[in-house]
Subunit: 296 residues, 2 copies
């Protein structure tokens, strides 16, 4: 079996299109047509397909066969979108990508079933694509477990008492597991198992930085609604608001540095796209002014 | 690789114990400990482990290696119990196996996460156990899709307008898919793919008979609460209550006959335990008096 194959006609946009098609192929025909309507509404609402791009770019760098590459990226987007469908129900979030969340547009039960079916389809997407499929499946379960643990920590932690360590665990679980996954699935499929820990640290560290940047943007709204926010957590340790903002920014940048360093350790420059994401986030954090964020 | 191995020390009770252990092994360590508490509460609440018994008995008949057999039975129980956790939330059922349903004992979000993690673990349970793991995974997704379709039909169908065909589709999906699954996974693992359609018809037909018998028992409560019931559906076609009861009983027995016939077609007498289940259900239906059921 050819695992690696160079195909110069491959480019990201065509691979992304193939990913969209393969997501529905992996879901398959459903006997209840209305569930497909719900999934289509959610999937076609957009999203930057960051996880697909992470997988595809890394897969191209490691010369993964197109079919394998597309399967991995579809798998990552399926589980990511499944988690969004369930999270919106659990958090009561009414909007997603500028539209009504699926549970509100349709109903909670349908959105819940749609999410569950898409998680199942994530497994189907990689079930038969490479000789490494068994390892891909086992790894997918590990990251699903981490994702769910992060979500559980989130909704069982009171914003008023959560500590920094718990906050980091939550970000690593809820966001980091699915940011590491695309790189990890590529490493498994390219027979580069020694690179797996680098992908994990990169994904988790980026997630922490991303969550902190997000918290700094949403500070006023979060504090007004007693939601978990790293600035509030740091303030609980006894420092002033400006000190907390400064510490948060430092923590984000340290994690971003880690993320970049570890992505750079991935073979054949396969972390290059990931590093670009790190640079874009670093610029966002650098140009944000704690005082201006505070005043939003 | 040895796929079939005779081990005379194997017996159902020890295999069932191994199944319980393997269910938690397939779930794995979770970073949020409270999710394990929810899963343990639900799994250890009992249940007849019918799907485990179906898989184990069929696997023994086909001399499946113990490790494979236990993986298949754990997989079936994990997805079955995952579906119960989610169904209880969706249907608002407050009791399960004589105890408070998990969503009521804990909370909806935790029960939802527990169900999702157990579905994921069902995939993990069979991910690396045989050379047929890729086919097992693909098949598991197909039955998950059928199960979800059945559930969708259930909660989108108004009891007052549902027709017989929709009722049958619902029973085949909601109940039949996971009754066929244990036999199907064994057929795939024993390299008996031509037996798959027999397992499917057997599981789906039994499910229809089971659902009808259940409806006949719950008739008064279902009609009082405007819930879907085959007797009500038949009455909507213009027949009297006694005629509807008689037709329902006939429909159940015809399906049971089908289930038995098709289970008998499975290789090496591997449908023997399934046929015993059919006989037990037939006796229950035969000894029930429509008039007495009607008066409950």
């Amino acid at each position: 079996m050819t695992i690696r194959k160079t195909d110069s006609s491959q480019n990201i946009e065509s691979l992304l299109q193939a990913t969209e098609l393969f997501m529905f192929q992996a879901i398959g025909q459903t006997k209840a047509k209305n569930i497909t309507v719900v999934m289509r509404y959610h999937i076609e609402s957009g999203g930057a397909r960051v996880r697909a791009r992470l997988a595809l770019n890394a897969g191209l760098a490691l010369n993964l066969e197109k079919k394998i590459n597309v399967s991995l990226s579809a798998c990552c987007e399926l589980i990511h979108n499944a988690s969004l469908l369930h999270d919106d129900i659990q958090d009561g979030d009414e909007m997603r990508r500028g539209r009504m969340a699926a549970w509100l547009k349709f109903d909670i039960n349908s959105a819940m079933c749609a999410g569950t079916l898409m998680l199942s389809a994530a497994y189907n997407a990689v079930s038969q694509v490479t000789v490494y499929s068994p390892q891909l499946i086992a790894h997918l379960h590990q990251r699903t477990s981490d994702l769910i643990s992060g979500q559980i920590i989130d909704f069982t932690s009171l914003a008023s008492v959560i500590d920094v360590k718990t906050y980091l665990d939550m970000a690593k679980g809820k966001t980091g597991s699915l940011l590491a996954l695309p790189l990890e699935l590529v490493m498994i499929s390219a027979n580069e198992p020694t690179a797996l820990p680098f992908a994990k640290v990169a994904g988790e560290s980026f997630a922490v930085a991303y969550q902190i940047a997000d918290d700094m943007s949403d500070l006023q709204a979060d504090l007004a609604n007693s939601r978990t926010n790293i600035v509030g957590i740091l303030e609980n340790t006894g420092v002033t608001r400006p000190e907390a903002l400064s510490q948060a920014k430092l923590l984000a940048k340290e994690n971003l540095k880690f993320a970049t360093e570890y992505a750079a350790k991935l073979p054949a420059n396969s972390g290059a796209y990931f590093i670009k994401l790190c640079e874009a986030l670093k610029e966002k954090i650098d140009t944000s002014q704690p005082s201006s964020i505070e005043n939003v």
